[in-house]
Symmetry: C2
Subunit: 318 residues, 2 copies
């Protein structure tokens, strides 16, 4: 089968491309290389079953043309950074909401009916129920990023009803692992490798977050796509544990062998719209037989080791 992967040069996208190719599938990757890294597709590029189309999701003609012949779309391309919404509100609208609309329309033009979509635990806003299940009370959004992913989920579900699409929607906690290129473990490592003596922390360090290892995440997606056959299949993906930011700082500094003095920006939230506690109920995916292989701590340490061995990723990144 031929798969179309948006955001193919990104962290999760390129990891997924490699896994699909390892299964013998054909893959068309689509990426504008704005945050994706061509280096992540080095192995894939040597595979005759892979091709990369450089294009932007906002260019619907190129997108529609590139998708031709595919049977399944993994739509991972997005502005994936929750933090800068208030500085650039149009970015979430365009790169997430409008881009997803374009993906859906390009699928319709090409007669493709199956989509898997990377949503986010941020979609629950500031939940009152922990761990938060997929059918939690109707959330109120707190970030433009979450709002844009909510918009995408809504459109995808409406296309399932209106155009007989089938969708798998995955709400991720923070994803860690090889090729990880943004988020606070990234920021902490970069800062500590440059200045091991001090570390400035957004918020009070007590924000609690959950994480998942990228390969565990891909395992879960493959399993859900294989086993869940409803019109719209929604799954939380995360570990059944969480850690606070201070806890992850301890692991990171210990691994790096540094003892920085810590300063805190203060406040319950790391940034405007930051959720002080993200912890998702993963009963639904676990009931299909999935379990993560790495704990959060193992995922953080693996990520630190990978970053130390691949310091080039700190260049030209935000």
């Amino acid at each position: 089968m031929s798969y179309f992967v948006t955001g193919a040069a990104g962290f999760i996208g390129s990891s997924l491309v490699d896994r699909l190719l390892a299964r013998g599938e054909s893959v068309i990757g689509f990426d504008n290389l704005s945050t994706g890294r061509r280096e992540f597709l080095q192995n894939a590029s040597r595979n005759a079953k892979f091709q990369l189309v450089e294009g932007d999701l906002l260019d619907i003609e190129t997108l529609t043309e590139a998708m031709r012949g595919a049977r399944f779309v993994f739509h991972l391309g997005a502005n994936a950074d929750v933090r800068f919404g208030t500085e650039r509100p149009r970015q979430d609208l365009e790169q997430n909401t409008v881009a997803t609309f374009n993906v859906l329309e390009a699928m319709r033009t090409n007669g493709i009916k199956r989509i898997a979509f990377s949503s986010t635990g941020s979609i629950y806003g500031e939940p009152t129920l922990f761990p938060t299940p997929e059918d939690a009370p109707f959330p109120v959004q707190t970030s433009l990023y979450g709002a844009s992913k909510l918009a995408c989920e809504g459109m995808i579900a409406a296309y399932c009803e209106g155009f007989r699409f089938h969708a798998h929607i995955f709400r991720f906690v923070s994803v860690l692992g090889e090729r990880y290129t943004h988020g606070h473990v990234f920021d902490f490592c970069r800062a500590l490798l440059a200045s091991p003596d001090r570390l400035h922390v957004l918020g009070d360090g007590r924000q609690r977050k959950s994480y998942i290892y990228v390969q565990d995440c891909i395992d879960a997606m493959f399993l859900a796509i294989e086993k869940a056959q409803a019109k719209v299949n929604i799954f939380n993906l995360g570990n059944d544990e969480y850690t606070d930011v201070n806890g992850s700082i301890e692991w990171i500094t210990h691994r790096l062998g540094v003892r920085p003095s810590l300063t805190y920006a203060g406040g319950e939230r790391g940034w405007v719209g930051d959720s002080p506690f993200i912890f998702l109920d993963t009963q639904r995916i676990r009931s299909l037989g999935w379990a993560p292989r790495l704990t959060i701590r193992e995922g953080v340490l693996l990520t630190v080791d990978w970053l130390c061995a691949n310091r080039w990723v700190f260049e030209h990144s935000k």
Copy 2:
């Protein structure tokens, strides 16, 4: 205070403009007159405190300029027809999602922080809980219209968190009353006035819907804006009763004095994405002291009488 009303020439918009003017407020109306009717603003136009700006919500420059000096925005301008999403998917994205983003950005440019927004009961998709409360389980969308309103709600809430806006979001059931210009009571009246002997019904006639009279709806909005002071205030607005389509046909035919033979398109839904049962829990708005003055039956009959006396609205309408 100066109010800015988008969709000012529409059914609910023009009714709201008249009510604001009756309270002595200044009102800037904004409408592209694509579905709005200049006739609905005849009275308003004679009031020195009213001005109408003809413009499109997708033209952010004109919108931003028109909004200058306002202190409160009622954002009612939208593609308000839930039925045609699959024929024109881009319309819901542009006229609802992107248009709402433009309204929010224009507010930000003008330093306006308060918004009231007309959302919809369709946002609950096909709920499992009746009457459906505001914090119902996280819904799965079934129509592009609902999905676009969900996107709007999400952005509005994120602007409240990110830019210290305050919002009142109203999820309406079907609204009836003077100036009513779309929906099935409109369609039935038009069809029966043209051909009193027969009536074709979408679906099986057993779809259950709730309705609210436009002046009751405006009363509720005024009350909620006055009394509810949270950052994001979400209210269902509807009657505490519902009727099926066959029930409303009986009222309408009796009022018109016609006895048509009925044919049914069949199926549980009137159109793709139609919700077979909409019935909202209105405890939240009732707890502020609101109660509707008209029953559904009274609202339907008043609407039939108004349509019969204003047959010009059937011209040039979809």
